[in-house]
Symmetry: C2
Subunit: 462 residues, 2 copies
Amino acid sequence: MELEELMEIVEEAGRLLEEKNYYALKILLQEMEPADIALVMEEFPDKKICILFRVLPKDLASEAFVEMESETQELLLSSFTDSEIKEILDELYIDDTVDIIEEMPANVVRRIIKNSTSEARKTINEILKYPDDSAGSIMTTEYVRLNENITVADALKHIKRTGVDKETIYTCYVTKPDRTLLGFITAKTLLLSDDEQIIGDIMETNMIVAHTDEDKEVVVKEMSKYDLLALPVVDKEGRLVGIVTVDDAIDVMEEEATEDVEKMAGIVPSDKPYLSTSVFEIWKNRIPWLFLLMLSATFTGAIITYFEDKLVASVAGTALIAFIPMLMGTGGNAGGQSSVTIIRGLAVEEIRMGDILSIIFKELRVSLLCSFSLAVVNFGKMMLVDNLLFNNPSITVQVALTVSLTLVLVVIVAKIVGCTLPIIAKRIGFDPAVMASPFITTIIDAVSLLIYFNIASSILGL
Amino acid sequence: MELEELMEIVEEAGRLLEEKNYYALKILLQEMEPADIALVMEEFPDKKICILFRVLPKDLASEAFVEMESETQELLLSSFTDSEIKEILDELYIDDTVDIIEEMPANVVRRIIKNSTSEARKTINEILKYPDDSAGSIMTTEYVRLNENITVADALKHIKRTGVDKETIYTCYVTKPDRTLLGFITAKTLLLSDDEQIIGDIMETNMIVAHTDEDKEVVVKEMSKYDLLALPVVDKEGRLVGIVTVDDAIDVMEEEATEDVEKMAGIVPSDKPYLSTSVFEIWKNRIPWLFLLMLSATFTGAIITYFEDKLVASVAGTALIAFIPMLMGTGGNAGGQSSVTIIRGLAVEEIRMGDILSIIFKELRVSLLCSFSLAVVNFGKMMLVDNLLFNNPSITVQVALTVSLTLVLVVIVAKIVGCTLPIIAKRIGFDPAVMASPFITTIIDAVSLLIYFNIASSILGL
């Protein structure tokens, strides 16, 4: 739904609320998707959110509840009676309940736990025990379990009886009575098979399985690679404890992409949305890299200080200073391009460790093309614009040559460093995403200056 | 499957191939996922790939074929007889066929078209007509269509008869005979409903629909937001022409994330994998931004040239030069952090246009915290390390103060520019992702220098 449409509905809902026309309000809201209802409600002040929520039909209210920001969920839960909390919990899938619990303060958590059925309470506690980034933490325990000896007709009957509360019925899991996973069967196979066929005979035993403590990023990548709608999660004994469904997998993919982008920009990743993160927390996520990079710039400062006297001693040397930002900037950008390409390639598994030599060779050729085109344009620009047009006599052919030659070397070094570091990081077990522009720029900056001043010494004899 | 496991299978397959033990080879391969079979085959030389492919059972061969790199597909297609091509095409979904056609040279395309059924040929030509980034280009035409007057039992029978060739049977679409879309019904609802219920009575009419020419990125975002397994695509007359399934949506999400990351690094996005992109193409994707940013660095050069004489005239002024890289680097990093946070927030729709004022206020507070912590550390470092430890008398309190004060202002400006530009870009219809580090750095560089030299004039009286 477009933003403007949503805003019109917010206005309309506000008017109906004012008129206490709750019937029309209910008609208006119940035609909408739960995610949109959540967006609309969050435009209202706290008190009105509670009224709006009570107008919704019970099942839709729960679905919208799951889609809300945790602040709104907390507000609503605090305003609920115990029996209202019970009603909402009844409608929620366990994995959504767990997600909500993880964001709530202790007093709200206590009320949720108190109003859960004892069975739900046990499951919630189990899921909460899995580490934050594990398959166990994103799984749901509401799946269809089948016995291998029953017929297709029995299985379909079983689904009809129990399916309404399951997060998905499209992949059903076949287990022994002790829940040891034997195989799976899709609803498609069930629907296309004859009624009297035995599940054990037609089930698929060849399957991708995750362990509860496996990294959720790996699990999600497998789901994407093998086009799975759901993936079973087993414990150490091979017993089925839950499944990961594709909608949750997509959320994890988005989170992981955001984390990678944050790391590439020198930010410590956080899984909280920007708008609900406090200023202090944002500072905490950003300052470490700023400190580190600021302090490592001491090297560039030291290099300049070391050569400074020689530079300012001649007109040509002084002219060189003005090109430092351009050289460092171009080096940083060239290196950043390579590193980001490799980091992303590694993340989506387009690039593997075995490709390292062919990558370096490729980047070398790309950098030669890039560096020479940049150097030629730069030489022309310095001679035609700086020297002729702006009539700056200190930009001699030698100065232009020094800058252009440096440019060639800087871009080549930048691209090689940019493509190599992420691969090395991956090999020694670091996160390649950290080897992006900010980090690489700092290295390139120092290298650029050394190259620059050494070439200047040779050509200009400083 | 882990890389090592795959490599073991490659070795084993190589041995069996050598021994011409095709039976064991078939047993080995047919236990694997199609995506893994593709990976294994691509480790072999061209001739052996063709032999391996012929060992596979027909349906598995087609599934593995879809997962291969386009180079390998081209190799296989060229080695096939017409009847072999026909067999493969029979097993493929139309949307996969279209994806393959888009990557093949004209002579291979001609053979594919020649060996398609006339119905498939028509559909292929229609899908090929949709623009590259439209919903039409990623949809499939193999979906289950139901009549609104039939019963659930009839619908299940219809699915049993026709479902095997459909890309998904889990969402069935209800249309008038002229294909005007009326609603949808999930396989879950069908399985949980009574046999004699009428489809028209239980179908869902409230639905998210895409138009053939809608941006595929928007479509995919809606599927993620509303947790959809499939989404119907209609033409201008509201007639159903295809559906987008969640597995294709996930591929588009990954592509879009890669494109965003590339844009943020100053690369013109390409949808080809890095390893199969030619050096010249990579150069073409990277050089425009390098040129633009190099030439825009003319401003920083001009600013330095303008102040140069004043700087080199005094010891304190000369000392300031060494801190230029640190100031510009820190500004660039601080601005990059803000811009990337906002760009990503806009991409995942966590941030909206209406939030602009609260974002600027938040970034202002974050930048105050960041800038003062950086300035304090920098002042301490300059006085304790540069002045005392390295015994550099040119680093006076005034010089340290100039650098630290500049740092405060630069970081504040950087963060405000960094958070504002992506939002402005979005408002005027540009892609916010372009407003990332490389672009912002260039602006910050020039602003930093102006701030630096002006503060230096006041404090040091240059």
